[in-house]
């Protein structure tokens, strides 16, 4: 297993080759990230078919836009996960438009997804970081990230003013960065 820093350079290199339309590199990229993208989409959508569609969209987008990837702006891993999350959120919102259930039930469903996701977090470090947050910050972040809700929807859901929802999300993210950040410092050196 390569060191994180080497790993990051290696993955940026693979993405650069994908940007030059290198099919072998693209297959390698799928083998590295296909499972992560699928697992995230499945957690958020709870529908294997919809999750597979997200995987297809994500990798087709990676194939088309890899040339625009700038390693100065972040790792290949962050870039692909951000794209995967973005597509999965779009799919969650489409799913929500299609369902005819009453709004309250729809919202409850998103809360379930968020709570289940947090409960299911397998990696100890991420789990410990989430558990270190005040409950209301953790809930705001989970509803946004795993539930696919916007700040405004979270405020409605939690019955709090929009400004409070924004603050909870921001404070929670900065805190997570503080907790998880020590790890990044190590990998940056």
């Amino acid at each position: 297993m390569a060191e994180p820093r080497e790993q990051e350079a290696l993955e940026a290199g693979i993405l650069a080759r994908v940007g030059r339309a290198d099919m072998t590199a693209f297959e390698g990229l799928y083998d590295r990230y296909g499972r992560s993208v699928f697992s995230l989409a499945l957690t958020m959508l709870r529908d294997a078919e919809a999750a597979q569609e997200v995987v297809q969209e994500v990798f087709l987008d990676v194939w088309r836009t890899a040339r625009a990837f700038d390693p100065g702006r972040g790792s290949a891993r962050s870039w692909i996960l951000a794209l995967a999350h973005h597509k999965a959120v779009d799919a969650v919102r489409r799913q929500r438009l299609r369902t005819t259930e009453p709004l309250d039930e729809g919202m409850a469903n998103h809360q379930d997804v968020a709570e289940l996701a947090v409960a299911g977090i397998a990696r100890g470090r991420v789990r410990a970081a989430l558990e270190a947050l005040p409950a209301e910050q953790r809930e705001a972040i989970a509803l946004a990230y795993y539930g696919g809700l916007t700040q405004r929807e979270i405020a409605e859901r939690m019955r709090i003013p929009l400004g409070t929802a924004k603050t909870r999300m921001r404070d929670g993210m900065l805190r997570l960065r503080g907790i998880l950040g020590a790890h990044y410092e190590e990998t940056e050196r």
């Binding site: 087709l60 790792s75 991420v126 972040i141 946004a144 960065r177 998880l180």
Partner: protein
């Protein structure tokens, strides 16, 4: 919005929790603000941790094939710039035959202007080909589809314009028909508003018909599974 206000939106932006107009404002600001770019880098790492923390489930093996197939360059399809649509005819015949004949390896960068110019030059040299013929395809859907071919060179191409999208997960498949068993000559999906050229190599004198049917994508079918929507006599 001020820099401070936009910077404060970055955590929610990294979580994809902003309204579309807010997200656009953040993106416009990010393009020119190095401080916010650095800030977002750290926040995206946090988001990626949340994303990779979920229980791992292996997707079906078939998904890998689909993803890779979808990305594979459609090496045999040339998408022409719009303005060429007006002049599709003799020039198209020549371009097609020139490209197919030269076996030009076409990847997605072919659209580059330089190569188009080179192709045009080669075309001019072949414009005089006296043996080129045309078969017009007609049928149950609107569309402007012709097979232009040179029996002597055994090169030709399907010139397609104004054919509508076959539908999600479906492709058009081209068949050459001699006897009872149609032979697949390739698949394509139209590009809205832009003419397409699909180069074909075949002994055209052997066939009596060319036909197009709608088939499941991305690979099409070994034999037609639907009634052809367009056909023409060779």
């Amino acid at each position: 919005m001020t820099h401070e206000e936009l910077r404060d939106l970055l955590p929610a932006y990294a979580l994809d929790a902003l309204a579309p107009d807010e997200a656009r404002a953040v993106e416009a600001h990010l393009a020119t603000c190095a401080e916010c770019q650095a800030e977002l880098r750290g926040l995206r790492q946090v988001a990626a941790e949340l994303g990779t923390g979920v229980p791992v489930v292996t997707p079906p093996a078939a998904l890998r094939r689909q993803v890779i197939e979808a990305a594979r360059p459609r090496a045999r399809v040339i998408i022409l710039p719009q303005r060429w649509g007006l002049a599709l005819g003799a020039a198209a015949v020549a371009v097609i035959i020139a490209l197919a004949g030269l076996g030009v390896a076409l990847d997605r960068r072919l659209a580059a202007v330089q190569e188009r110019l080179a192709a045009q030059e080669q075309t001019l040299a072949l414009l005089a080909s006296p043996s080129a013929k045309t078969a017009v395809l007609a049928g149950t859907v609107p569309g402007n589809v012709r097979l232009v071919y040179d029996p002597e060179r055994r090169q030709g191409a399907l010139v397609v314009s104004d054919l509508r999208d076959p539908g999600a997960n479906l492709v058009y498949q081209v068949w050459l028909i001699a006897g009872q068993q149609p032979e697949s000559a390739g698949i394509f999906r139209p590009s809205p508003g832009r003419p397409l050229i699909i180069p074909l190599s075949a002994d055209f004198l052997r066939y009596r018909l060319v036909a197009i049917s709608i088939e499941p994508g991305p690979r099409g079918s070994p034999q037609p599974t639907t009634t052809p929507i367009l056909s023409g006599t060779i």
